[in-house]
């Protein structure tokens, strides 16, 4: 039985209790920020900000919509971070995708590979500089959730927009909610995460297209084309690059041979 987090964005009111509850439980310090013309801060997830609300404003005719997205690690079934991790420090433990902090070397590859920008390895040091460390991200509060406590963010949600439990049960609940929303003026309501990347363990009820929230409509596994990429490199080396060499130096050789012949 795999658990999943259900995030009903039609209920989220962006109070950001989840954002701070995550820091509180996981003892993550604050980031120094400035207002950049948005309620949203920190501007991005980071090694010390594992979940946050992304604010998106959208005008639909005369009406304005304010969309909130609770960002964080999706614990993908087909996890890009796990695939690209060179040391195997990132692994599935049941549905959890976890980084072994004792084994991770902090190369940052997972950071680039994540389709959701959910994992990071840069820390701000006390003097304001940056330092690289092991990769950190949402762990679904694994110490809580394996001890029958809900994740800190789920527990704290005053809007009741978050749920935690058996994935099938969460899926059923999400689908029911999507149905209710579609019938009550949100024709674009949809469920995100059921099939993406083999099934996410964060399931979203959205009232608009995923991309309207800043989610990839079709998230892609980082190494889905890696074979073709290797091939591309090798073919380029072999065909595109070697061919001119072959032509030029063959010609030189031939010329040398003929010149040599003439000279002798």
């Amino acid at each position: 039985m795999a658990n999943a987090m259900l995030i009903d964005e039609s209920r989220c009111m962006a109070c950001r209790g989840c954002q701070v509850a995550c820091k509180q439980w996981n003892d993550n310090p604050a980031e120094e920020t400035h207002n950049w013309g948005s309620y949203e801060n920190p501007p991005e997830l980071s090694a010390i900000t594992w979940t946050k609300i992304k604010f998106t404003e959208k005008k639909e005719g005369d009406e304005v919509k304010w969309l909130f997205l609770k960002q964080g690690c999706m614990h993908c079934t087909e996890a890009s971070c796990e695939a690209v991790c060179p040391t195997g420090a990132i692994s599935h433990q049941g549905q959890y995708v976890l980084v072994d902090q004792e084994w991770c070397i902090g190369c940052g590859y997972c950071v680039a590979a994540c389709p959701f920008d959910a994992i990071h390895s840069i820390f701000e040091s006390e003097d304001g500089g940056e330092q690289k460390a092991t990769a950190r991200k949402c762990v679904f509060c694994v110490d809580r959730t394996t001890n029958d406590l809900p994740p800190a963010c789920v527990k704290t949600c005053p809007a009741n927009a978050l749920g935690w439990g058996d994935r099938d049960a969460m899926l059923a609940k999400a689908k029911e909610r999507v149905g209710v929303l579609q019938a009550s003026g949100f024709p674009k309501a949809n469920l995100y995460g059921e099939h993406e990347l083999g099934g996410l363990h964060r399931l979203y009820v959205l009232v608009d297209r995923p991309s309207a929230y800043g989610l990839p409509d079709a998230p892609k596994h980082a190494t889905s084309t890696v074979g073709a990429q290797w091939l591309s490199g090798i073919v380029t080396a072999g065909v595109v690059a070697a061919v001119p060499f072959w032509l030029l130096f063959k010609r030189q050789r031939a010329k040398e041979a003929s010149e040599g012949g003439e000279g002798q």
Partner: protein, 187 residues
Amino acid sequence: MLEISRRQFLKGSGVSTGALLLPPMVPGRQEVPTFALHKKVGEARTICPYCSCGCGLLIATDSTGHIINSEGDPDHPNNRGALDPKSISVRQLSTSPHRLSKVMRRAPGASEWEEMTWEEAIPLVARRIKDTRDDTFQTTDDNGVTVNRTNGIAFIGGAANNDEDCYIAVKLARALGLVYIEHQARI
């Protein structure tokens, strides 16, 4: 002095940069191992000091009485464990290095505080109150009605204080004859 450096900012977090460190794991496990809670959830129950919803809090402290965890009280009917960002932050409210922790006096014209003890400060405070009260006390008004008041001292109270704090403050202020008594409810 008044600028907050990066160091102070992080220090104010009251936590180290060492986030939840997971122990070594065997990759690709189907069954999830049980991880030990990295800190106490807390048993002490109190009520949030921010808005008037009166949500229940669970608080855990370390051996010195400093808060190491704060989250919602799942048994509280008002919030059932839920909390907004402020309520969760009571941990930093209590443990902040920016909290006032010393009795201080600022002398007239001075540009800095001077630290003192309660034993030094309280007699000075009582003296100022008494002198001003005695100097400005009105026993009767122009019509000869007993008014027993002072216009020389004003009290402004907080709306985040406990009932009993407020009660004692009002009792004391009225007994001293204060009529300028106001607080957040007015503004």
